[in-house]
Symmetry: C2
Subunit: 458 residues, 2 copies
């Protein structure tokens, strides 16, 4: 950079905001950071949620246990009021032990590391045997059509692209094969679908996640296999070594079950009618402890409240920490939260979601009108010392998304994404894979952003 540019940069910085206000704010944010980094309870709350409650899919007894546990955590954090929002949730069950194998041409059976996809229907107790065809992408599926696909097990083998530095981009691309693959294969008469797990690494753990059927076609069984198995299967198919595949799953969708969002509130001292939401989702897939997805977002949201209370920070507006139920396979908690907000004619000015893991924070995605975004962008230098340097357009998250309808500005925490899809929706998403300092540093930035939005509005 030339000297001229250097002065321009200095000028630019000086125009970013009134220096004294920024100084006061940096002192308060440092207090918040010290409180959370030295005395935060998010990590121990997460341990409880992972180890004492465990996997907590919507409708399961553990989901109810998670409701009760976080209710207590919000009480302990010092929330002025804690309450439940009843909602009905889909109740999908995995059923009995699932299994599958490949019948190899030499007579051997190769056991697959597999799991039924979320919301999928099983094969029935007798299982299902058919020949397997590997499909690289939807174009190939459409080109082959019913003539080739009918009666076969379609194996979608679309790896996550390792060259995308932001791994969510790769997830977005490959994700279509899990969410839409079974429905699209059913259209051509496929007997069942095997998808390569949406995972960024090669290992032996299958990754589950929702698939979405199309009501016009049969609800065919759908499983994910581990990435190692996908590599193996692809190789064997190329060598013409695969005779048939056998899959047995007994998963099914039961009638809707009652459940709850859990809400803890600090009542605003000046404008209590204006609501700021910070949340994560309480449900997790049944295979995992749901540590990064999304126990992290829950305990971070509770931590925001705890830090305000511990420091005696008064918020002008009402701040709510919300544990949304049923993000993974229905979004009913989010729908309910919006419905109640509408019913009570609440004014929601801002909502922040953490549902990308409790990894070291890098930024916030800001989904709000340009004018508000510019206001938020001016706080960037206040967050910079805590690892957040990137405030980008777009973001938010699926649980707070509906609040856009009633005018809320939205934001989503963007942690580093390199490790997330190694463990997402798999048995490897455990408490041990979470770093206390990373988790707490995310909470620091969330609390700082909430503090600024509360103080200055948006």
């Amino acid at each position: 950079m030339s000297k001229k540019n250097f002065y321009l940069a200095a000028l630019l910085l000086s125009l970013l905001g009134p220096a004294s206000a920024q100084n006061d704010d940096s002192v308060t944010i440092k207090r918040i950071a010290n409180e959370i980094m030295a005395r935060g309870t998010a990590y121990e709350n997460l341990r409880h949620l992972c180890k004492k409650v465990g996997p907590r899919l919507s409708g399961s007894p553990q989901a109810q246990k998670a409701v009760e546990a976080t209710y207590q955590m919000l009480k302990d954090a010092g929330a002025d009021t804690v309450y439940l929002q009843p909602c009905m949730v889909p109740h999908w069950v995995r059923g009995e032990k699932e299994e599958g194998y490949i019948q190899v041409a030499n007579g051997a059976k190769y056991q697959l590391k597999l799991c039924a996809l979320g919301n999928s229907e099983g094969t029935g107790k007798k299982g299902l045997t058919a020949s397997v065809i590997e499909i690289k992408n939807f174009e190939e599926l459409d080109r082959l059509g019913s003539d080739v696909i009918k009666g076969k097990i379609v194996f979608f083998n679309y790896p996550m692209n390792p060259t995308y530095i932001r791994s969510f981009m790769a997830y977005g691309e490959s994700g279509a094969y899990r969410t839409r693959g079974p429905a699209r294969a059913a259209k051509y008469g496929a007997a069942a679908v095997i998808v390569r797990s949406l995972a960024s690494n090669l290992d032996d753990f299958p990754h589950t996640g929702t698939t979405i059927y199309n009501d016009s076609f049969p609800k065919i069984p759908a499983v994910a296999i581990s990435t190692n198995d996908a590599e193996w299967l692809s190789k064997q198919l190329m060598r013409k070594m695969v005779t048939t595949a056998y899959i047995r799953t007994t998963s099914t969708m039961l009638p809707d079950a009652p459940s709850f969002n859990v809400v803890g509130e600090i009542r605003g001292t000046e404008i209590p009618g204006e609501i700021i939401t910070v949340g994560g989702h309480l449900d997790s897939w049944d295979l995992a402890e749901g540590a990064q997805d999304d126990g992290a977002g829950c305990v971070q949201s509770i931590e925001v409240l705890r830090a305000f209370k511990a420091l005696g920070l008064k918020s002008k507006r009402t701040i709510r920490a919300v544990m949304f139920m049923n993000e993974e396979n229905g979004g009913r908690g989010a729908d309910k939260y919006l419905a109640l907000a509408k019913e009570k004619n609440e004014k929601h000015i801002f909502a922040l979601e953490s549902d990308a893991g409790g990894f070291t924070p890098r930024g916030f995605g800001l989904d709000m009108p340009e004018e508000k975004r510019q206001k938020a962008m001016a706080w960037k230098n206040l967050l910079y010392p805590y690892g957040v340097y990137e405030l980008t357009a777009g973001g938010g998250g699926s649980d707070i998304g509906p609040l856009k309808q009633i005018g809320a500005a939205l934001a989503g925490l963007s942690p580093d994404s390199q490790r997330y899809f190694d463990l997402h929706h798999a048995a490897t998403d455990t408490f041990e894979a979470v770093s206390k300092r990373e988790l707490h540093l995310g909470a620091v930035n969330m609390a700082a952003l909430i503090y600024l939005v509360d103080k200055y509005g948006l």
Copy 2:
């Protein structure tokens, strides 16, 4: 930000560099990134170094095995030449099984999770028993002096400060009690020293690391205990429940042993006499696989060479990947590298070190004159898409530090530091704690910086 500021920012960006050169460079860097993220071998090389070679303290048979293994890795990476630089290294050994316990007032013995500090002398086979005094800091030690300290085991209990967001700052602060504590306590006649492990988390693993004796005072035995034990011991001392401590270590320093730096080179096509070094250190502590410290830096440096070769990128200057021996307890490899450079009158324009772990990259520290730093800073937007956003003054690293004497500009990779001191110098520094994508993303940024320095000079 106001509209006016927005235009100023745009203007600033436009002045940062010639747009077309930056565009060519961004294309090449994207090629480098694709190569490393999709086909990089750093992770598998690290697996070999951790699992097939293992702990590799200077002078040990495993250190020699590591020399041979990385020699082959550099060959496989396609280096034009690979060679060894012989150097003599300190040969410290831990000796027989070490142990220690606290004799509690109620008659119980509490076994400590401890390890001798690196370079420390042991108690001898019979061990050593004495009363324990907790010392909070050096001021307290000096205040109490010989009258109180003489004959006692000094327990330095100085935790890493969790409120430092950059954890290396906390390490720098607490580190003095490990490196200088035993010598300072020996001055007052202490019988031995126990230090609280330099760890950012609470667990049961002791963390070793070098201590430095003062030749004017006795070389008293020195051990680290786990942070959980430090918390326990402090509590028991406060309750007056500690009678004595027993420590038994048989560590000692043997005569210097022969070892090597391992160097792989790509010969420059235009200015081969100008040398660019990229390196990490090959030795590790004996308790750990040395995955993050510093197997990561070694395999990343090899990966830089491999990517250049795999993509057919010609470097104008000579690029050397160097596996420095003996960073942990002597720095003899670094000294030797400098001595040979001086002897051969080499021109070293730039050296880059990775010795802060293979975590997700955030920046580079640049230790070089202001004019060169400004030149390097202008490349910031080229690295930004790969997670590096922070180019700061200072940095480098202890293995390349000596090259400053002969005019080299230095840089150090700055990965995220939240997890490093959970495992640094402890048995938890294993291959499993490394993320492939994080490790490779660090190598991407290292290769990109080397590419830019080679192309434009510094």
